[in-house]
Structures are given as C-alpha cells and as structure tokens.
C-alpha cells in the first residue's frame, strides 16, 4: 500500500473486506479492491468468480452485506444507481443500454436531458456531446445525429463510453467492452479505454481476454471463487501467472499489493 501511495496517490475507490451473499450463496468473501486515478485496473476471474456482483455493488444495484466502501478517501454508502452517479461512478454494462431508435446525442443525454423551461435544449446537448466525443478523439462516428440503430458494435461501445464520461465522472467501470467486437473495433475501443485513463479518470475494465488486459491495463485484480486472489501491477506478472490465478486462485512468485482474502483467513 505504501508503494501505491507514493506512486499514484490514494486510490479513488477503495473497498475493504466486502461480503455479499445471495441467500445461502456467499458470493463475495472479504474482498479488497482499489482503483486509481489515471490507471486502468483490470478485474479478471472465471465465470462465477464474483466480478459482476462486485461491480453491481459498486454501482448501487446490490447492497453489500458488510465491508467498507471508501470513495475519494471518504466512507460512503450507496443505496442505488443514482447515488453512484452522484459520486461520479458510471458503469457501462455489457448490453450497453442504448435505444436504437434514438440518435447519439439523445442516447448520451437520456434521462438527464437539458432544457430551457419545458423545451429540450437540443443545441446545447449536441454541442456538449460533440465536445465529449472530440475530447475522446472519437473518429469513427459520422455525425452526432446518427441513429444508434445504424452504428456498428464498436461505435455503439464508443457511444456508451462517451455517455458515461459526459457527466464529469471520476470512475468508469466497463463490463466486457470488447466481448462482441472484431479485431479492428477492439483496438479502437481499447485505445479509447487507455485515453480515458490518460485523461485522469479511474477505469475498471472487466475482461476475459487477457491479451486485451495486458495491452491496456496498469493493474490486475484477480477474483477466484468470490475471493481476491491477487492484486498486482500488470508489468510485474506474465500472462500464464494470471491464468493460474484465475483458474486456481494462486501462483508462484506473485506478491499481491492488496491484502487478499486468503491473507485474512478466509478459505473457499
């Protein structure tokens, strides 16, 4: 932790000893997790390891059973998605949640439309959307007034990410952003993910694709059966070590930077 503090400052998001059960199923066991400004933290783990549950808890969809949730160093409680957005946490889910029958601007401002009295202020929404897309160096879109129905998978992902950063968000969580994309589009989206972090946002990337993870992430947190198996710097590990962490929960020669669930005496 001291090493982190000197290198990156305090983490913007810090979870300590998180537990979550659905009925008799103990999904998250004493999980510690941290995300840092300007860094991409990859969250990896096999199906059922608890990745989705963890981010849904951060996003306010499920409450934690126990554990500490610190955001920007302060203890916070999140009761719903609105609380999370108010803090500056935005989640881009795998299904993107875009409306095909609306255009790019309309989707980016959905539910938070700007208006002057009761009339929608289309001009200011369009300018802001264009500004955000430009700041992300989005080159793949033709026009802000294109219908989402006419966009490719990569373009849709771009719109969903732009929608998430439009609100001065501080932490953006991306759930499998490249899962359904081809090679070229994957590269575009990964470049965009990198740019988000380079602009000072904290990014959490959930991915099954370790090539993507190694290409874009600064840190890797591996979950194994609901426990944190390790939290390491990407440059300190090799891909086969991460595979081992995902499949067995342990590997030789990896020193976790956060206390893992195993350290705290919880066993599967």
């Amino acid at each position: 932790m001291t090493a982190n503090a000197t290198e990156n400052g305090a983490p913007i998001l810090q979870l300590r000893g998180i537990n979550k059960s659905f009925g008799p199923v103990h999904v998250l066991k004493q999980v510690n997790f941290a995300a840092y400004r300007g860094q991409v933290t990859a969250l990896v783990g096999d199906n059922g390891a608890g990745k989705s549950t963890l981010i849904k808890c951060v996003g306010g969809i499920h409450p934690f059973d126990s554990g500490e949730f610190l955001f920007e160093g302060k203890q916070v409680t999140i009761h719903g998605p609105r609380d999370a957005s108010a803090l500056g946490i935005e989640i881009v889910y795998q299904d993107l949640a875009l409306c095909d029958n609306l255009d790019v601007v309309q989707n980016m401002f959905l539910g938070r439309e700007q208006r002057t009295s009761i009339v929608l202020d289309e001009d200011s929404m369009e300018s802001q959307a264009a500004k955000t897309l430009k700041s992300l160096s989005v080159r793949t879109l033709k026009s802000t007034r294109q219908l989402v129905a006419s966009l490719s998978g990569g373009q849709r992902q771009t719109v969903a990410i732009a929608k998430a950063v439009l609100w001065n968000s501080k932490l953006v969580i991306l759930d499998e952003p490249t899962a359904a994309l081809g090679v070229a589009q994957t590269e575009q989206v990964l470049a965009l993910v990198r740019r988000l972090a380079d602009q000072g946002l904290a990014v959490v990337l959930i991915s099954h694709n370790l090539v993507d993870v190694f290409e874009v992430s600064d840190r890797i947190a591996a979950l194994y059966l609901g426990q944190l198996a390790a939290e390491v710097k990407t440059k300190d590990v090799r891909q086969n070590q991460v595979v081992e962490l995902i499949t067995t929960g342990r590997t030789e020669g990896v020193e976790s930077e956060l206390p893992t669930s195993v350290d705290e005496g919880v066993t599967a």
């Binding site: 929608l120 026009s143 380079d198």
Partner: protein
C-alpha cells in the same frame, strides 16, 4: 476531460457539420433503403388512390366531396393520434373505439338530458376519457396485465356501457349549436385564408430560424433549400386545400351557402401542433421514444417506466374522447353503436398506415393524419364507386395488412442492414 489529447480530429466541427444538399438526399435514400421509410408508403398510396378514384369517378375530386372526406375522416384521425402514443410503447388499445363511444354518450346525456352547457359537457367527456385511460394504464403498467387483454376486456365492457347509457334501440340527439358546428359548420372563407397564412408563416419561421440558429452555432442543420422546399410544398398543398374548401359546394347556393374550411380542421391542427410539440420537444416525449425503443435502457437511465406506460393510455383515451365528441357532432346524435363497428380498426389502421410501428419506438402524430386520409379516401371512394360495406371492409382490411407487412418487412430489413 479537458486534459490535452494528442490526436485531435482534423476538423473540430466534423461531427456536427451540416450536410450539403447532395449528402442530405443521399443519407435520406440510405435511410429508406435501410428500412426507415416513415410515412413514404402512406404518401405514395394517398397520391395513387386519389388519382385512381378521380379517374373512375370524377365527382370524387369535387369541392363538396373534399369537405366530406375531411369530416368523415376526422373522428378516426383524432382517435388515431392518441393511439400513436400507445403504439409508440409497443402497446395496443383495443378499447379506444368504444371509449370514444362512452365519452360521446356521456356528452350527449349531460348536454341533452341534463341540460349542461357545452363547455361543461365537453369537460365531462374529456374527464371520462382520462379516467378510462388512467384505469387501463394502471392495470397494464402497475398490475402487469398485457394491454391486449386489458383493452379487449374494456372493449367488451365499454360496448355494454354505451348500451346502458343510451338504452337499447335508443338514440340521444345533440342540439347544442357549438358541438354541432364542429363537423357541420365552416369557417368564413377569409378566416380560412388567415388560418392558412398564420399556420404557414409560423411553420416557416420555426423551420428557417432553427436552421439559421444551428448553422450559427456550428451544429448540423438541414440544408436551407430543403427547409424552403418543405415550407413551400406545405404552403402549396394546404393552399390548394383551402381554395377548394372555399368554393361554393351547395347544390343551391341561393337557399343555403356552403363554403369554407370545416371547423374540425383548425381543431385537428391545434391537436397536431400540441401533441407533436410534446413528442418532439419535451423530455417526456423523448422518454416515450426511449421506453418504446428499449425499456430496460430507459429504466437504467432513471426514467419512471410505469408512469410513462400509464400516461400513454391516458392520452390515448382522452384523444378517443375528443374523437367521440367529433363523431357525435357529425352524427347529430349518439346511438348505442357509437364508436363501434369499424371505428377502432380504422383508427389503428390509420396510425399504422401512416407509418407508426406496431413494434414500438417509431411513429409521429402526423402519421395519424396521413393514415386517416388514406382510410377516408378508400372508404369514400369505394362508396362513390357503388361498392357496399362488405367490399369496403375487405379492402380496408387488406390495406391495413399491407401497411403492417410494410412495417414488419422494414423492421426486418433494418435488422439485416444492422439498423435494428
């Protein structure tokens, strides 16, 4: 987000650049080819039908018949305008026809039997429509019964309600001059032109200033030429309409003069403007499209989906009430079959023929007017050709089927071209 970015796009205004005339047409053609056809089939169908009927029966294209068309089509058009809102969410309201009947029966009863003044009677009819819509909407959105079932039940129940209010074999006449004027009296010819000039002027001002303002802010705007053609086209078409309606259409003008725009036209115009404003320019309208397009995305964006769902049935039934008032004015009375027989299917048909999708998320208020015109033309033209109700129903049914197929095929095509 303000941190310096290395590769800023060459032209900063690329994303919001206004298309040139050529690009505008190319992108329109692309949209049509991609399955986003909007009202195109209705417009083409209308033109073909008018030409065919005018050739077969020259009287079809007379001033008198034109006025007939408008007053015949008015009630179902207004009901269809409300149904557009319901269809936008992918729901259906099968009770709209008899809801209009119930509201008309309420109107006639309080006007004629209870002696209320017309504004109170209209309010009573509208309140009845609103109450019906609230009940249906609540059952669909809160209880979670499919709208098909709720409104099918309401369809039957309202049929009975009209019977109970009016009485079997009964008939409540309407004698109030204001209500009767809606479908039976006309604006003085000069007023017709004033209405035309004011409407076109306002439309031109809105379209042109918006285009200028967006251009000034560096946002994408439709080419000025397109805006000008739209305004001019509308001015010419409606101008011809007003001219025709202002011709003398009485067989014996010395006894009774009959000319001018029917009063129902400005009423529909106001409804069109208000409802279009609600759909296109307010957050509520935006949320309506969002729920129709992807209810889950709308829910996650913090939109209260059940409220939206309830509200469309409230709008639908209130518009049905207005349609019922207009129908009562046309018939000069309300009988137990008010809002029955083909009213509902014509209204749903009008919305769908006009280009509103049965799958939700796609449609405009003006679709109801275009589709209503198609249905009125078929109904009227077939009548002039001497066909009975049997053939008329079959043809209208076929047209509705064609419109629904066009809708379904366009949707399939949109999915195939990656637009769905």
């Amino acid at each position: 987000m303000s941190a310096p970015v290395v590769d800023v796009p060459e032209s900063p205004a690329e994303l919001t650049r206004s298309p040139s005339l050529g690009e505008y047409f190319r992108s329109y053609l692309d949209r049509v080819r991609g399955g986003d056809i909007g009202s195109l089939p209705a417009v083409l169908g209308l033109i073909v039908l008018v030409i065919v009927f005018s050739i077969l029966r020259p009287v079809f294209f007379s001033a008198g018949n034109f006025a007939n068309l408008l007053t015949q089509g008015a009630p179902i058009t207004v009901i269809a305008m409300g149904l557009v809102f319901v269809l936008l969410l992918g729901e259906i309201d099968l009770s709209a026809g008899f809801a209009s009947g119930v509201c008309a029966a309420v109107l006639a009863t309080v006007l004629t039997d209870w002696g209320w003044s017309w504004p109170l009677a209209v309010l009573a009819a509208l309140a009845t429509g609103l109450a019906i819509g609230t009940a249906i909407g609540t059952l669909v959105a809160r209880v979670g019964i499919p709208s098909f079932v709720v409104t099918l039940a309401a369809f039957l129940a309202f049929q009975g309600t009209v019977l109970l209010i009016i009485g079997e074999g009964g008939n409540v006449p309407i004698r109030d001059s204001v209500i009767l004027a809606i479908e039976n009296k006309n604006l003085p010819p000069l007023w017709g032109w004033v209405l035309w000039a004011v409407s076109i002027g306002a439309f031109a001002a809105i379209v042109l200033t918006r285009s200028q303002r967006r251009r000034a802010k560096g946002l994408s705007a439709e080419p000025l030429a397109v805006a000008a053609v739209k305004v001019a086209g509308l001015a010419v078409i409606t101008g011809i309409g007003v001219y025709f309606l202002n011709l003398e259409r009485s067989r014996n003008a010395l006894v009774i003069s009959l000319k001018g725009v029917p009063w129902v036209v400005p009423i529909i115009l106001v409804l069109l403007v208000v409802l279009t404003f609600v759909l296109m320019r307010t957050a509520y309208g935006r949320h309506l499209y969002a729920v129709g397009g992807n209810a889950e995305a709308a829910r996650r964006a913090g939109i209260a989906v059940p409220n939206i769902r309830t509200s469309v049935f409230m709008i639908g039934s209130t518009m049905a009430a207005i349609g019922g008032i207009i129908a009562a004015s046309r018939a000069n009375s309300v009988d137990p079959n008010a809002g029955g027989s083909n009213t509902l299917l014509y209204a749903v048909g009008a919305a769908v023929i006009g280009g509103t999708s049965l799958f939700g998320g796609k449609g405009k208020v003006r679709d109801a007017i275009l589709g209503g015109a198609v249905i009125a033309v078929i109904d009227n033209g077939m009548g002039l050709l001497g066909y009975g109700s049997g053939i008329k129903f079959i043809i209208t049914g076929l047209v509705l089927l064609i419109a629904a197929s066009v809708d379904a095929l366009a949707r399939k095509r949109a999915q195939a071209t990656g637009r769905g």
